[in-house]
Symmetry: C2
Subunit: 528 residues, 2 copies
């Protein structure tokens, strides 16, 4: 059995402290092995200072060195073997198969960002060569490349103990572009966090990079988390969690003497719009697929569909019945923590207590410790009148909204807050007549999906995981896929700088073989 | 003589109001023709609502339509002829030649963004085609493209009545990418603003685009400016002005229910570092060039060099003497407004009143109405001890800092706040030994310059005009050059959407002929 030291990792050194906590297993309520320290603001200060001290060296490291680091982290995580999966399962109640899949995704992300670090495309090199003979004034030689921002504070999430936590997408994209990382571990899975932090430490050492580029602290978000965000050397923040938690970090970052960017993923209803032809043609398959997506991982995905909208009529009434049948057969499930279960119970009860809203069906009943899936139903008029119906309930709950007319369905679409995703089910004829609906949804969501379900976020080059507030705090960026690397960089322009002193990305000979924008035209050719 | 209606332009319609003000000519203190209305919050509400109403149509307009609009604005501005230049000169005291040059730059910017709108490269199209046979799970078809954010609030600046005002870079880059614009005119040049707004209105009408995509309001930043930023339909903000003004807007945007991005350019010292070889070889030329850059436009450029740093010794002492000589021959000048002159006098007096700091030289004396150039001198120790010495004085003032050692010069570099630019003068041998200095400066500034002066910001593809706080509120973006268009867009991902319903940028046939990232590889080929 794995044993846990329970200490913080600050720049490769273990750091203890007097106050500790233990993890509780949501599966059986037992206390899991390991006492984990609670960080002080002094620990936070040391971690961010170490990151700042390591930053110049790491920023100057080659893409190859950073790729080696990321691939090393992937290997070290795999080398943790079953111990990691077992501890994560006991800390989160997520099934083994899901965690094995999540580990694969985490390792895949690390390798994707390793490839990005190696190819250097993220630096967006641009060169406007000198024009000494230009009239009326000569043009200077101007070259621009993106550089890392500095220490990035990453908050581990509750619902993805691997893929959005210590070595998750935020950490991978920050490291790939040369930013040191300080992780605030999630309280729900400190043992998993310690194991992954050890993997990162070993990979940092093996790559010969400064230990300060990575630290892990255990502690309270409200104290140590805010202290990290307020630290003068913190340069950016990545967070996946609740709306209130994200807002607190965004506000703390905005109050700073020098505000810094916060990439917070906070909440999303992930609405699903049902068009008439699809309702008529394949209501059964959609109802089954919807309930599977909604109950996947006990509804604890950020892309869980929490709303389904259609035009009232016999087909939609039938679809509602099919949803009710499917939900009534859905299994209850253990949530990540007792607090999350309690919040789910309050939220799902509030849904059906809202005026004009009624319970449609619940899943198979369970004891005190499990979350029971629930679908409620309401009218578009009630939905438009009560803003709280448009807020996410984290867990396996969803709301069916009946619009009286197509116009009212469009009004529901326009009424929506920002979303990670929006989905439309329709036949080709349905879709042909729905450009207006898609156009509205494109203003509300980061990802539009046709005839599929929102859970399952592909890690690729074209993914956008981020939408208007409150889905995320900055819809101009994605937290999933290679474009996530754009979050932690800024451009610097070099004017009339001798070739030998330029960053390699900007040198005449193009030693990195980059596709560069030269006088506005993409080319891999040398310059001058 | 041009006459002025003095009203707001709200979506192509004139709107008056009871309270008015007039512009004062800083050249002679006379009141200029025209009484201009002060906008109410109701006017602001109408303007932003009109922008939001026009947004879907404008967002769906072709790049060609937007290019036609921007070129039309350029033509209409040129058609205003001498009347525009004359009014701007009388509202700002800027010389005719400078204003003619600034008009050229403004028109050039509009045409650059027209070209960008036409070629569509800003939309960063990415396609990860479906992989139906992938194991263990098939991959969906995922395509991503950038779309406009929505109504952009633009604040006219005092010091660039054309290039950073009503039809300046913020407006041009917002319109190029499909965002409606609401401009809050600067109080210093309402007549110039009215003339340019008329040019935009005519171009909007000629392009057949909805009038709501442009509005102009006159009024107070503290009331109407904040109301615009707080408006629920405002999507982003562009501002060039004071540090206090920028901070107020950033804070207002951060307090919103749904925070929005603010691109504020606020203040910069634009430090110049003098290396020993350059001091020995060409102190005269550098001193002359420095004073010319510092006094250009009465020191009212955001890139005015306000700090010069060197290692104390006979060569630096001689350079200080040359600076003193050059400054003592510099002409006084009329500033943009009486308030700006008063602030310059306070700021330049405070510089020399700081402990350890002394007056080095002033320019040719003038009456009450002109600003006199000033250079002060201090030690690195005093500079490091007094943070206020590191704050911009807007106007023709600069501070010479003597470091006792090279290490102390590096300490000054590290101590600097964020900057728009940082400059180094050195011989090839100086520069070869200064990679450490350049590396520090790259963390402090958006643009590094070798052996030239910071004034004069090229409008191209590789320009970066924006640095860490307080130079700008978001160093990840530039406000000058084609990359400025990246500020007002966000990506949207389309998953499994039928080809005909995709935005043209993402369709299989690549009808816009874009360079797209397909499976991570740049190509103009069709897909599928």
């Amino acid at each position: 059995m794995t044993s846990f030291h329970g200490q913080h990792s600050i720049a490769g050194t273990r750091r203890g402290g007097p106050a500790t906590f233990a993890a509780t297993c949501p599966l059986d309520g037992t206390t899991l092995p390991g006492r984990f320290c609670l960080a002080t603001t002094s620990d936070a200060d040391d971690a961010v200072r170490a990151a700042a001290a390591a930053f110049p060296t790491f920023a100057a490291a080659s893409g190859l060195a950073r790729a080696t680091l990321l691939e090393g982290i992937a290997e070290e995580i795999l080398a943790l073997g079953d111990g990691l999966i077992d501890r994560a399962r006991r800390e989160t109640a997520l099934p083994e198969a899901r965690l094995v899949g999540e580990r694969g995704r985490t390792v895949g992300q690390l390798r994707l960002f390793a490839a990005l670090a190696r190819d250097g495309s993220w630096c967006d090199a641009r060169i406007d060569p000198a024009q000494p003979d230009r009239q009326p004034l000569p043009r200077a030689d101007i070259r621009r490349v993106k550089v890392p921002l500095g220490p990035v504070i990453v908050f581990g999430s509750s619902n993805f103990p691997l893929a959005f936590s210590v070595a998750g997408g935020d950490t991978a994209s920050a490291l790939a572009t040369g930013n040191p990382v300080v992780v605030k571990a999630h309280r729900g899975h400190p043992g998993t966090s310690e194991l992954v932090a050890g993997a990162i430490e070993r990979a940092v050492a093996a790559a010969g990079l400064p230990a300060g580029i990575f630290s892990l602290l255990h502690g309270e978000g409200a104290t140590i988390g805010i202290a990290l965000v307020e630290h003068p050397h913190a340069a950016a923040v990545g967070f996946t969690g609740s709306r209130a938690g994200g807002r607190a970090l965004v506000d703390a970052a905005a109050r700073r003497l020098h505000p810094i960017p916060v990439f917070a993923e906070m909440s999303s209803l992930n609405p699903v719009f049902m068009l008439p032809g699809a309702l008529a043609a394949r209501a059964e398959a959609i109802a089954t697929g919807f309930v599977a997506s909604m109950t996947l991982g006990v509804g604890q995905f950020c892309t869980k569909p929490g709303l389904v909208v259609g035009i009232e009529g016999p087909d939609f009434a039938r679809f509602r019945g099919l949803l009710a049948t499917a939900v009534s057969q859905a299994q209850p499930g253990r949530m990540l923590t007792g607090d999350i279960l309690a919040a789910y119970r309050r939220g799902s009860a509030a849904l059906v207590a809202s005026p004009g809203t009624a319970l449609l069906a619940t899943g198979i009943m369970a004891g005190e410790t499990d979350a029971v899936p629930q679908v409620a139903a309401t009218s578009a008029a009630a939905f438009l009148a009560e803003r709280r119906l448009g807020e996410e309930v984290f867990g396996p709950a969803s709301l069916v909204v009946s619009a009286a007319t197509r116009d009212e369905m469009l009004a529901v679409a326009r009424h929506l807050d920002g979303q990670l995703t929006a989905t439309v089910h329709g036949t080709p004829a349905d879709l042909e007549g729905s450009a207006d609906l898609l156009a509205i949804l494109a203003t509300r969501a980061g990802r539009l999906i046709v005839n599929a379900f929102p859970t399952g976020v592909e890690v690729g080059h074209a993914m956008q995981h981020g939408g208007p507030w409150p889905a995320t705090s900055d819809p101009r960026f994605t937290s999933v896929g290679s474009a996530a690397a754009e979050r932690f960089v800024r451009p610097v322009c070099w004017q009339d700088v001798p070739d030998a002193l330029l960053p390699p990305a900007l040198q005449n000979d193009n030693p990195l073989g980059l596709l560069r924008l030269v006088d506005g035209k993409p080319t891999r050719d040398r310059v001058g």
